[in-house]
Symmetry: C2
Subunit: 448 residues, 2 copies
Amino acid sequence: MLDSALHRQIEAISAGEVSATELTQGYLQRSQRDNPQLNAFLSIDPEGALVAARASDLRRTKGEALHPLDGIPYALKDNIDVAGHVTTAGMATRRERVAEADAAVASRLRRTGAVLLGKLHMHEAALGADGDNPHYGRCHNPHRQGYTPGGSSGGSAAAVAANLCSFALGTDSMGSVRIPASYCGVVGLKPSYGRVSQRGLVRVSRRLDHVGPLARSATDLPLLFQTISGVDHQDPNSRSVPLAHAEVHGRRLRVGHLADLHTYGVDDSVRTLFDAAVAQVGDAIGATEPVQIADYDFARTRRAGLLLCEAEMLVEHAADWAQRRDLFSPRLAAMLEFAEGRSASDLIAADRALDGAVLLLRKILGEYDVLLTPTTPQPAFAFDTPVPSNQADLTSIANFAGTPAISVPMGITADGMPVGLQAIGAIGSDLLLMALAERFEKLRAENT
Amino acid sequence: MLDSALHRQIEAISAGEVSATELTQGYLQRSQRDNPQLNAFLSIDPEGALVAARASDLRRTKGEALHPLDGIPYALKDNIDVAGHVTTAGMATRRERVAEADAAVASRLRRTGAVLLGKLHMHEAALGADGDNPHYGRCHNPHRQGYTPGGSSGGSAAAVAANLCSFALGTDSMGSVRIPASYCGVVGLKPSYGRVSQRGLVRVSRRLDHVGPLARSATDLPLLFQTISGVDHQDPNSRSVPLAHAEVHGRRLRVGHLADLHTYGVDDSVRTLFDAAVAQVGDAIGATEPVQIADYDFARTRRAGLLLCEAEMLVEHAADWAQRRDLFSPRLAAMLEFAEGRSASDLIAADRALDGAVLLLRKILGEYDVLLTPTTPQPAFAFDTPVPSNQADLTSIANFAGTPAISVPMGITADGMPVGLQAIGAIGSDLLLMALAERFEKLRAENT
């Protein structure tokens, strides 16, 4: 039952086949065994989790379950505040920084009665994707020790893939939910901008930050998405985002797929799987047409997106940066120092540069309901090999544009590592993307 | 007919009581007479206007009118591009800067068959509100020569108030439509953020810029608003903003009015009119309750808003600033130099500071459908007297928060100058605000 998808666990717990306490104990024992090697959890709270699980079981006994998720064990990326818990954000400066209040998404999950197991590994300050944290060690890919789980939500993807929890939340500013989902072989969603509150996150960038769920099956994402989303009047960036119709069956979807993959430095191993995935989608869901991306400078836009993050982190971490600069890794310090040398108008120019992604995706998504791309140009790589500079190019477009995007596993490379298929849709098409991912997941299951 | 409200002119033109050519000639003759003293128009295009008017009359004769506005003479603030016309933005650097394409709003108006008379006076670069342009001279208030019309859309309000056109468009980044509407005794709307395209404006700030209509009667705003608004896929800031129900009759509106006006430096003359307006609204439309504004630092937020504008103008005018700095007024140059000395993280901090207005208005507009305030703390002032520093405090909140806001005349001070009543509503309540303004306008007409 620990390895099952969330919806199976919900069925089992509500049928009385398993208790919240059993599930929680199971995951705690497995983490005790596996986490020392994997390092997906930065902190585990066995006492708190077991108290919550027993309270959930008592509610179930009385027929007073709060929500389908009542009693389901989950974990949060460690840049999401939970009252009374430390939020490290993967930073040495924050080892003892206890949150006073729940983040909006943590509060929403708390109200369901779900059981928080602990907080998950992440790239230092969420700005990077190699899973190698200089303060908290490496989080390993469950598919191969010594390989990155991706990031920055590497612990979230690794914990879900290694069956150390039922589901997890991550955050995604340039691809930080989808990249580790791709590398670890799980599903991950970056919702439409503003649909999920940013309140209570250790912020990377107001324009780019999104909280998103990770799970073992695409079937589980809509429930998680609906649970964490909704207008939050205390978050100035929260907004009403009407959701479009989500029917995949019964209508021909207009699907485009990224052409000329070599242009984006996509590995042959990934291209092979992507071609097969596109063919499967084309057969089953709708004809897919090749889409070229023109007039979009990936390197320049990436640099602009990074400046937004770096400059905002100078504000977010201002006190620590002033007082304990020695506790910042040389890599992060160099990024912040770069931003210190940039002017207000440099930032305006960077913000404007990101508009290229907005216009690009509006054009493509005016012609197609969905754009398919590989989530990552390559599978997970070994630690101590150079980090590919194009790692977030295919994911970050959706952050720049505020559109939803999903990563769903599309197969295993000849070398044995998973990679994800990304689907990007117009703002408000979150449910459609999840329905498409679920359909694709079922197609793959039928064909294997 | 030249002095009539737009809806009366539309009735007359469609009934054949007046032709587009007659209206256009009338306004051109009146401008020839009055504009040298008023200086509301920076440029007038008699030939183009008459050609357009004759074409409109021909369409009307054939029963092929394009739109209710077909043949109606109007004018645009001179920071809105019209293909083939110079867009000065009130700047000396741009005296010969011919636009290649229509701004989105200009294009929408062109398609209605309305007749463009010319381009209107504005504060240099739209960053200021005293109507005193060092390069293009002073625009005077039609109610008193030697007094400011307000700004930055001073020419727009003055031309509408002096009956030199049927309606005008302005732009509003801190209050630049509503302040001159208040000072000149006309109505002006700042729509919900993103509802009207920013494409083709000389930009002040992507977060704060809004195009809005000015007219002599609140009855005329909905048509103008609907004509210029709608999603523009070529404007990265354009977005779908669903509009709320607009019924004012038949339901009790929850109306709040700003209390403790002395706190905001509101003149006694304005307070007297505001108290009377609030009482009228209370009697006729709904009980109104006093609203206090707490935890909001006007001076700090104003400074933050200005930095957003100044930094973006460094990018918007980068080439001119590099090559012809001598053509910038000392006042504008000082503002841009201030921004040059600010860092990327200063700008992030300023952007965050504006969120105080978002949260403040969400809280108030969670309790009330509408918040009433004076539009301006004072009536128009004489040139060569100090510009009040609080001039935009009551209007800029709505820019910072992205909410719609309207200014409708609420009376004439004992000294003989008009001032406006401002109504602010939640995002998407544009139609409600216009309906409320129309109702208030009718109440005042009945009572005088």
